[in-house]
Symmetry: C2
Subunit: 897 residues, 2 copies
Amino acid sequence: MKKKYIYFFGSGGAEGRADMKALLGGKGANIAEMTNLGIPVPPGFTISTEVCNEYFKNNKKYPDGLWDEIEKNLAGLEDAMGKNFGSNSQPLLVSVRSGARASMPGMMDTVLNLGLNKNTLKGIIEMTGNERFAYDAYRRFITMFSGVVLGIKKKKKMTENGHEVEINQFEVIMDEIKKKYNAELDTDLNVEALKQLVEKYKVLVKNETGKDFPEEPKEQLKMAVNAVFESWNNQRAITYRKLYGIPDNWGTAVNVQTMVFGNMGDTSGTGVAFTRNPATGEKKFYGEFLMNAQGEDVVAGIRTPQSIEKLKERMPEVYESLVEIYQKLENHYKDMQDIEFTIQDRKLYMLQTRTGKRTAAAAVRIAVEMVKEGLVDKKTAILRVEPEQLDQLLHPTVDPKAKVEVIARGLPASPGAGVGKVVFTAEAAQEMSSKGERVILVRQETSPEDIGGMNVAQGILTVRGGMTSHAAVVARGMGKCCVAGCKDVNIDEGKRLFKVNGNIIKEGEWITLDGSTGNIMTGKVKLIQPELSGNFAQIMKWADEIRKLRVRTNADTSHDAQVARDFGAEGIGLCRTEHMFFEGKRIDAVREMILSDTEKERRKALAKILPMQKGDFKEIFKVMDGYPVTIRLLDPPLHEFLPHTEEEIEALAKEMNVSVEKLKEKSNSLKEFNPMLGHRGCRLGITYPEIYEMQVQAVFEAACELAKKGKKIEPEIMIPLVGHINELKYTKERLIKVADEVMEKMEVNIKYMVGTMIELPRAAITADKIATEAEFFSFGTNDLTQTTFGLSRDDAGNFLPFYIENKILPKDPFVAIDQDGVGELIKMGVEKGRAARAGLKVGICGEHGGEPSSVEFCHKIGLDYVSCSPFRVPIARLAAAHAVLKEGKLEAISTTA
Amino acid sequence: MKKKYIYFFGSGGAEGRADMKALLGGKGANIAEMTNLGIPVPPGFTISTEVCNEYFKNNKKYPDGLWDEIEKNLAGLEDAMGKNFGSNSQPLLVSVRSGARASMPGMMDTVLNLGLNKNTLKGIIEMTGNERFAYDAYRRFITMFSGVVLGIKKKKKMTENGHEVEINQFEVIMDEIKKKYNAELDTDLNVEALKQLVEKYKVLVKNETGKDFPEEPKEQLKMAVNAVFESWNNQRAITYRKLYGIPDNWGTAVNVQTMVFGNMGDTSGTGVAFTRNPATGEKKFYGEFLMNAQGEDVVAGIRTPQSIEKLKERMPEVYESLVEIYQKLENHYKDMQDIEFTIQDRKLYMLQTRTGKRTAAAAVRIAVEMVKEGLVDKKTAILRVEPEQLDQLLHPTVDPKAKVEVIARGLPASPGAGVGKVVFTAEAAQEMSSKGERVILVRQETSPEDIGGMNVAQGILTVRGGMTSHAAVVARGMGKCCVAGCKDVNIDEGKRLFKVNGNIIKEGEWITLDGSTGNIMTGKVKLIQPELSGNFAQIMKWADEIRKLRVRTNADTSHDAQVARDFGAEGIGLCRTEHMFFEGKRIDAVREMILSDTEKERRKALAKILPMQKGDFKEIFKVMDGYPVTIRLLDPPLHEFLPHTEEEIEALAKEMNVSVEKLKEKSNSLKEFNPMLGHRGCRLGITYPEIYEMQVQAVFEAACELAKKGKKIEPEIMIPLVGHINELKYTKERLIKVADEVMEKMEVNIKYMVGTMIELPRAAITADKIATEAEFFSFGTNDLTQTTFGLSRDDAGNFLPFYIENKILPKDPFVAIDQDGVGELIKMGVEKGRAARAGLKVGICGEHGGEPSSVEFCHKIGLDYVSCSPFRVPIARLAAAHAVLKEGKLEAISTTA
């Protein structure tokens, strides 16, 4: 049987349906659906995406018999319309438009008014009695066809002052004619003028291509169809697909449709509308239209369209039909629709309907209200909100109405906006903040010592570092806005100012950062604060009812813990104790410990840190009363705690009362070629057991004291960087002893667990052995990704962007879990671990824990929880619900993807 | 049924057998075997190793009924000997000796002459008529029992000049008595003196322990058995087991055996002998004896024993029996035996027989000759030579007869010995070497830039760095001796000398290094050159007949390739092209390439390197005519090629005609936090494709030129550090194009393959995908170990030794493949790879390729080949044969191990 390549729509029915998007593209499928619904749509036919794919696969050859099939459909169209393609009596004009499965606005080509030539022009004039309209359509057709099909490009030209500019030669001619006829707008041109325009255009085409403008309508059609298919692989379409992850082999369909004209005079017009407000979600018809215009005029923005409500006044019957249709469409599709329509001489035609794009706020409101209206169920409502979108709702944002002066742009490293006075050091940030001032911390790059300053700042701006730099990672963890790697900024710390693109900003001056766009603005810009109750709370509640994964947070302070609780976190999945080592004066004791030569000296220094760590834990436990708290014992290599610059070293030596030489010697002895693979994690805990012992003592003293006051504390002690079961055994044995001693002394019994991070490939591979000792696993996917790929996150900047851009890696593995590689290891770890210890509690605590596709993966492989930074908690909750809902739809997804 | 704990031997038969070593220990099993063979052995019984294990498992409690069983066996012994334990008529004396499954010489305790007290002493005097002998035995017994059983330790004492020395109080008394009786040797003491000695000893025991010396023989026996079991866990035994990998749960047996006396006068004696020469392997009875002595006297070395041949003159009948027995034993055990015997009043008793330890040379000679004698088959002969042992035979060694002055000791980083004049720079090494001088290169530490100097040196001495430092790894690769990390050496480069432990060695002075011991010696020490023909060649030939694994070599130069061919390498498994980048003037072009900002500039610089690389490949291909050569394209990060010190940078800037600032900036931009996980391997090849293109061009131009001259070249192009199939795809596509172009231009067709290193966990996990593009796999186990463990080899020095010492890791994973972790990944990689591409060629090329247990693993999982440094090739060949032979014996091994 011959394959069917073309699908007809018109005469009250269509061969296609809305669910045939893969074959007919979004536009074609929806036009067919509307036709079947009895909605007035100009008839036509859709050439399927398969043709596009075969064309490119077979060295740009079309399937055999395609043109015969086109001719057959064209004949059907003529029949349906009672018009004739290429005839001077009742001529049929068509549009030729691309239409891919996913919307790719403006990326591919369109030709309107096709079928016009000297001969059919006469037929149009006769048919419409409107010569001016006919010539206007003709000149538009020639312009469009020449650009899209004949490939007449803009010309480069030198201006008088030596700049190169691009000149559209058709516009040049248009401007000449306008001048000649003293016309301001296109619409001011009379028939005579348009006739001249057409003649001049034809000469231009002849000059540019060496051939006459094609007269034969079927030749025009063939050329136009070919051009649209070709446009699937034009540079901007390729770039767009790369950007939005649209597969190259989806292809585009081509829609050939009878032309209807919004520009036939004052009883004609064209418009676009949304069935609800796409910005706020309000249930109110929303759109705009232009009288006496074609669709391109609305887009071009030369004339200002009117609000859709005005149409009610101008053409009440048309407006009424439109309202009836949009309601029918929304009820049919059960989602907010984005529609396009044309009015030709008081008759309404629908040209397109599709699911409308919307802001996060609108998505949430529409979803919740549609449930209330009985239009969709809760599950559908949940799926209507993209988890990643929620990020917009969780942070302050720049008021879109505010007037801003953008002075530079960096990387949008952590979302949200922040307003504050510029400071250049963490100390200054803390000092000014303690006086109630809001500050923005501006640094070359941040280091762990800046944590205190970052914590009090409204936002962070760095000159160096990328999306995964220290500043970016920490800021995201804190839910604080961060613009990173803004190389235009030039800090002069001595003069306490920074220069950027000709501006000078001094310490104490106000700036505003937008971490969602990377914009840096002068002054205090008005922000909009997030609203987390109402519809947002409703959709989260529904998500919670459905999801199976628990969602915990990564939090190192009671403040972060509280934020996360407010966002619905059900415990702490990762409390990094090393951040506590930097705060305030305790870094001195930490350094004293590191510089000690004997265990005795180290214990002395650790004894000073003990009460502070204990205090930290108490605060965190209080916030997490009743929820589990996973505490990771010290992880980073000791070298990170030592100062790095010459001056800092000298100052510390003085303070510690040791020689600069000794300090440097010690520092050098701790330096590592590959600190990521060095003396860290449990390797530290094994060689300096006194560090972990102090930490566990602090945890249990804090927990016991609170337990005595009736709090329910569930500490989960997590040993980092275990690669071999013996490392866990060795460490665990000693820690249990300390825990038991504390509990015995304080006469309280605390239920606790000892488990491990699985962050090395070897740990995942030998998870069956490790699970015999570990009471829980937490996959540290950051480090696991680094070791599995052999890829340092800090050093990947020189090649990872190239990899993503050239599709060598499909996604950044530090953003979304690499399911084929790292994911396989995780699966192996879970299976082996649970085989050895039934009911083993398993979670993940890398940054992936708040990324929707990774959350879905975690659900699929049966983890108990994900843990993510506080501001990602709602995203993870929603993503976890999506994961459950998508499970049933897996087959459907795999056939469309 | 009651468990049997004790095994009797005597009266012409024994309850044990030679194959019961696990239960009876080596000594007990062999004594039983000898008894069964009808060889004269003093009767006795063995308490099994199970008792030892139960004792320690059950909190130092012996199994119920053990002592009853001992008493029963003691009664049986009395019957067999017609003597009485503890009686004054015909008293029975016994020895109580440890005997573990593996020989642990001198590590555990022994008590002789047990059963003596005032009463039995009389019986001995009566029985022997030799009062002096009886008292001599008595004083020996008290000394031994006091030390071993009563735990009377040496005393610490201050000498006059303030030094602390250890004093054996029994020796102090002995010296007093000797003085008093004017005796020089023990044997000079008369009965009177010995009687006094005994009395004084007993007073000492009373003073030290607060109790009288135990008189009751059964009490003595109980205490002695207990002490021997306890000695299984004394510190030196624990250390020994750790050192030789003997499991703690093997336990020791205790042998209680009738005493026979070699010290009963001039018709008595004792001796040890080997059935063949253990140093050379010569088939000649070899040993020594002492008349009128107990075994301990031979060991103590106070009197000089005589050669065994003298016994023939002194006691021809005894000698004849001994010869008959040793031949019987060697024929029975079919291996060279190490025997102990005692002659009591002209009657010969055998006390022990066991497989004799031997040098590598002896092992080879004995194995080959025993095959010729028809004693063993070839397979047995092959298994008689330990692969690791061969290392002794492949390098020059210090003549054991040479007089040497050792001035310091470093780490034995690369085996063999070297003699040369001291130089301090690679340049000096090359210059002097070009004049025909032999040199030893002495450096703080080496870096890739020193390769040229290392290559011409006889040996390398470094102050810093461990067993896996650059110097150590490269030296092992070159088969050159290296003493690393000798911290006592203090180099003064300015004065061109080094100081070490008070010696000053100037440039140009002769020194000798022994890389097998770490010794540094002054002057030109005489060396013995390896002899690789004869028996060595014979055993290797047999091994080759049996092994299934192919053995290739890692070689970067034609010299190394030639050495490896001479050692039997069947191709190159890893030719690292980066080493070629450092040689001579080409490093300038490499740096020019790195400093270029555009591809065009880079290509210009690469064009200069091309002819040199091509030349290198030609030389290597010539040596490897007919064998495959795997060429790894550039792997290390570019930063490694730039200079590091301030002076070097300035010099280079001048040479390159760029500013110091630019050079530093470029260098800084290439610096990485974790270079191991950085911009290297195929990541370089992808971002700078011109580098790999140049390398492939060089390979194929070289191959084509030689192919035209009739050589058979099989290049295998290997892409390093592939983690994702797309990396391989991207690189391979470009390289094939270059290869095809060269072949077309040169009109030759070369059979070649493109494959990849599997050195990242992700590569192993996705091996099924990667194998669709890779035509071969080569496991880079060095990097795979680093990433799987998350362990930087360069940084592991601070904790890995602690890990090994404390058994947190059973073995250094950089020495022997970690089979549970890294090995699992390799297995997975092989299985997935072969599932996707039938017959995929798979090998390994890490340092593990020459380590016997790793070679065995590679055989088991079905690799095609291992590749190792040239000097490990014979070891790998033999280990590969062992792997085949052990396969059939797996069950036997698993029950004894």
